[in-house]
């Protein structure tokens, strides 16, 4: 999106961990985070891009009303169909302390079916928060998947532009990219092992109850997970 020069420059401006690493000294207050969005997240045509996980949404408790700063946004909901693949990828990244391809792994990963299972649960819960948010507010995001981006990035970019009322003309995505796929044979190995150990299709896992309990509790109450 950044490379198009027209779809904003989406960064995790409301994620304090990322801010500390990427913009040290910036984003100490919520207003400064919003100004950082304007300074760093805007493409030359004035379009602002932000990337958010559900826990990063700046609710009124942070001291601002999002709509007063950024108007009515066009939402793009990015999900991964292969949730198991997503969980394994995340567990590997977390264990190695390497979340992007240019970060050298600091630790040797250790397979843990419990860790993968917990991560799937966590992703189900967090995805459910977005589902609930869009449903409650009646907003209809543009839905795209990781798999679609892999298959046809141009189609996805043009879809985002259309949703935003923009025209990318004949724009075509041209590698190289800063971020490369981190996936290795280890991902496949862990996947096969996890399914062999935990993938009995004739059960509904007890973890399902945890999904229900956690998501239920989150949605039952007001989410007060502020930015920091």
């Amino acid at each position: 999106m950044t490379q198009t020069d027209r779809l904003g420059r989406p960064g995790e401006f409301f994620n304090s961990h990322v801010l500390r690493a990427v913009y040290p000294g910036r984003g100490k207050t919520i207003e400064d985070k919003c100004r950082l969005v304007r300074d760093m997240g805007t493409s030359p045509n004035g379009v602002v891009g932000i990337k958010m996980f559900p826990e990063h949404y700046p609710t009124p408790r942070t001291g601002i009303r999002f709509s007063e700063w950024f108007g009515k946004p066009v939402w793009v909901r990015l999900r991964r169909q292969d949730l198991l693949g997503q969980a394994i990828s995340f567990v590997l990244a977390r264990q190695q302390h390497a979340f992007v391809s240019h970060a050298a792994p600091k630790f040797v990963p250790e397979y843990s079916a419990d860790d993968i299972s917990r991560t799937i649960t966590e992703f189900c819960v967090r995805d459910g928060r977005w589902t609930a948010y869009f449903a409650r507010t009646g907003q209809q995001p543009l839905e795209i998947t990781y798999e679609e981006i892999e298959r046809d990035p141009d189609h996805v970019l043009h879809s985002i532009a259309r949703a935003a009322g923009l025209d990318l003309g004949g724009y075509r995505h041209a590698p190289p990219m800063t971020f490369k796929k981190q996936r290795t044979s280890l991902n496949d190995e862990w996947r096969a092992r996890f399914i062999a150990e935990r993938g009995d299709p004739d059960t509904m896992s007890a973890q399902r109850e945890k999904v229900r309990g956690w998501l239920g509790e989150l949605l039952r109450r007001r989410s007060l997970k502020a930015i920091d």
Binding site: T137, G199, M204, L219, R220, R221
Partner: protein
């Protein structure tokens, strides 16, 4: 997982595992009656009903569907099209109940899964609330009462449906099953496309000249749905707030911190 100490029942001697089983994994008010009716009409994609519902079997089968085993017999007897394809419609709770008693794969083989979801969760919750209050779940059932608007009930149902949808997500992720995912909104727009996708997923040929007959189950949606939606969004739809579809938000009750809960999500539990 299977409760300790309870043996799961094997199929009886002579039991014939169906040639192919299709399971429509879905939730209430996802357009599943429309889809399953169309599947039945193809004559080759099974005749899916809620055969394995643990408490409320399909109408007319109440006397026979007295146990999981009896329900499996009914599924194979009544859920099959002449080509031997058996189809069943399931909610997550059905699967959980069945898994207590049997290994489904021992009875039905390795099924092909069709995951039918609805993008518009608010519309789904409103539809369910109205159906429950009227006690009318299909267009053929006469309404018994006038529905009463309750934002709290709609919020509760949205929460419940989000939880149940997450249960299917978790099930497919854990097992590595790749279902065919269909969306209610897409099925409504292109019913034949949905049937073709199911047939391709199942490896079954359907008549290329197939015409979907008029639907027996008409849409129940009316002005009440639209009015409730408008009202709910007006009262509870502030986009600057996050998550709050629970009772507290609708009561305006002072909130409680969830940091501890999130901490629990992030911390490995041993």
């Amino acid at each position: 997982m299977k409760p300790a100490g309870k043996a799961r029942q094997h199929p009886p001697a002579g039991w014939v595992v169906p040639r192919l089983t299709l399971i429509v994994a879905t939730l209430e008010r996802s357009g599943s009656n429309f889809l399953t009716e169309m599947m039945t009409q193809t004559g080759v994609l099974g005749k899916p009903l809620e055969f394995l519902h643990p408490e409320s079997p399909p109408k007319g089968l109440e006397d026979r569907a007295t146990s999981t085993i009896a329900r499996l017999h009914l599924a194979v007897e009544l859920g099959a099209t002449p080509n031997g394809v058996v189809a069943i419609k399931m909610f997550p709770d059905h699967m959980a109940a069945v898994a207590q008693d049997v290994r489904l794969s021992a009875w039905l083989g390795t099924p092909r899964w069709v995951w039918l979801r609805r993008r518009d969760l608010l519309a789904q919750a409103i539809s369910l609330r109205i159906a429950r209050q009227r006690n009318s779940y299909t267009s053929e059932e006469k309404a018994e009462a006038d529905p009463v608007y309750s934002p709290r009930s709609i919020g509760r149902l949205m929460r419940r449906k989000a939880e149940q949808d997450a249960a299917w997500s978790f099930h497919f992720a854990r097992t590595g099953i790749t279902p065919l995912t269909l969306w209610y909104e897409d099925v409504e727009r292109d019913p034949l496309g949905a049937l073709s996708a199911i047939a391709a997923h199942a490896g079954i040929a359907i008549d290329p000249g197939l015409v979907v007959p008029g639907r027996r189950h008409k849409r129940q949606r009316d002005d009440v749905n639209e009015e409730w939606r408008r009202r709910f969004l007006e009262e509870a739809g502030d986009p600057d707030r996050f998550v709050e579809i629970g009772e507290e938000s609708l009561r305006g009750k002072k909130s409680t911190r969830l940091g501890k809960l999130f901490g629990r999500l992030r911390r490995p539990k041993r």
